[in-house]
């Protein structure tokens, strides 16, 4: 049992660090989104992007989650998701897109050590995410018939 103490402690420390980080990112982002929404700015952005988001079967507001995911990180996008009401299909499509493409400013640099150039990995991930979103939405619509 004592052999397990070390990894358990490490896991706990990591979770607490990650949860604190999450609070520091998600709370301000969701407050910002709430304020922008209050003044009708989200509606403006959402209206502009809603034709594009329709490709993924997502509402226009999802644009903000995607942009935050691509250029800030995963957790900032979660801050937006907590303020949206989405169907399980929509959450899954959005989650796949976020999962594939997030935190580009940091992760493309990390990945560049393998020899993968930064613009190439950024483009690869953005296009893969968009393609996966379109594809998954199509599959959902085919399978569920609507």
């Amino acid at each position: 049992m004592s052999a397990l103490a070390e990894p358990v402690k490490r896991g706990l420390t990591k979770s607490i660090q990650l949860l604190l980080l999450l609070i520091k990112i998600i709370v301000p982002v969701s407050c910002l989104v709430a304020v922008l929404d209050y003044y009708g700015i989200i509606e403006l952005i959402a209206g502009f992007f809603s034709p594009a988001m329709a490709l993924f079967g997502l509402p226009g507001e999802a644009t903000i989650a995607l942009i935050l995911s691509f250029f800030v990180n995963f957790y900032a996008a979660l801050g937006v998701i907590t303020t949206m009401s989405l169907s399980s299909q929509q959450i899954t499509v959005l989650a796949v897109m976020i999962g594939i493409c997030h935190e580009l400013p940091v992760e493309t640099v990390v990945c560049s050590y393998t020899g993968l150039r930064i613009p190439v990995s950024a483009a690869l991930r953005i296009f893969t995410a968009l393609g996966a979103g379109i594809f998954l939405n199509l599959i959902y619509n085919l399978v569920l018939g609507g």
Binding site: A3, L4, E6, P7, V8, R10, G11, L12, K14, S15, L18, L19, L22, I23, I26, V27, S30, C31, A34, V35, Y38, F74, L78, G79, I81, T82, T83, L86, S88, I91, T92, L94, A95, V96, I98, G99, I100, E107, T108, V110, C111, S112, Y113, T114, G115, L116, S121, L124, R125, T128, A132, L136
Partner: protein
């Protein structure tokens, strides 16, 4: 005044969803650390021979690939730098691992977090893994055809 209530409600809701996340996240991260402690990845590297063959990657690629996939891109990349210095892998292999990991990494942690927010975990894992495999395979063919100089 209305906006103060709105903010208070938003903060409360957000903290609640983070608390719900904590219930899942803490056990998952502990399990990941236990898996690292028992060197689970080292033990399964031998079993992915077929998958590596499909990706045209050598056996040495198994460890950085699996470690990055399960434990995160930073660890994966750190191992890759180490492997590159030791000369275990060719340039093209490193590049292919980079492509694979950029699409599919830390799938346990990411998937759990997104699942707590309502996403379907199975679809999440399958889509990312399958796309990473297909794109890496296509990249392998393209690199070998157009840029054979990296093959050293």
């Amino acid at each position: 005044m209305e906006i103060v209530y709105l903010l208070a409600e938003t903060i409360l809701n957000t903290l609640l969803s983070i608390a719900r996340l904590a219930l899942f996240l803490i056990p998952v991260l502990i399990l990941i650390e236990i898996a690292r402690h028992y060197q689970v990845i080292e033990k399964i590297t031998g079993r992915v021979k077929k998958a590596l063959q499909f990706l045209t990657l050598p056996q040495e690629a198994a460890f950085p690939l699996l470690a990055g996939m399960f434990f995160g891109i930073v660890l994966g990349s750190a191992l890759i730098i180490d492997y590159a210095r030791e000369g275990y892998l060719k340039k093209r292999d490193l590049l292919l691992i980079g492509i694979f990991l950029s699409i599919s990494h830390s799938i346990v942690e990411d998937t759990f977090i997104l699942a707590v927010f309502g996403a379907n975990p199975l679809i999440l894992v399958l889509t990312r893994t399958i796309l990473a495999i297909i794109i890496t395979r296509i990249a392998a063919s393209l690199i070998d055809r157009f840029n054979p100089t990296t093959n050293q």
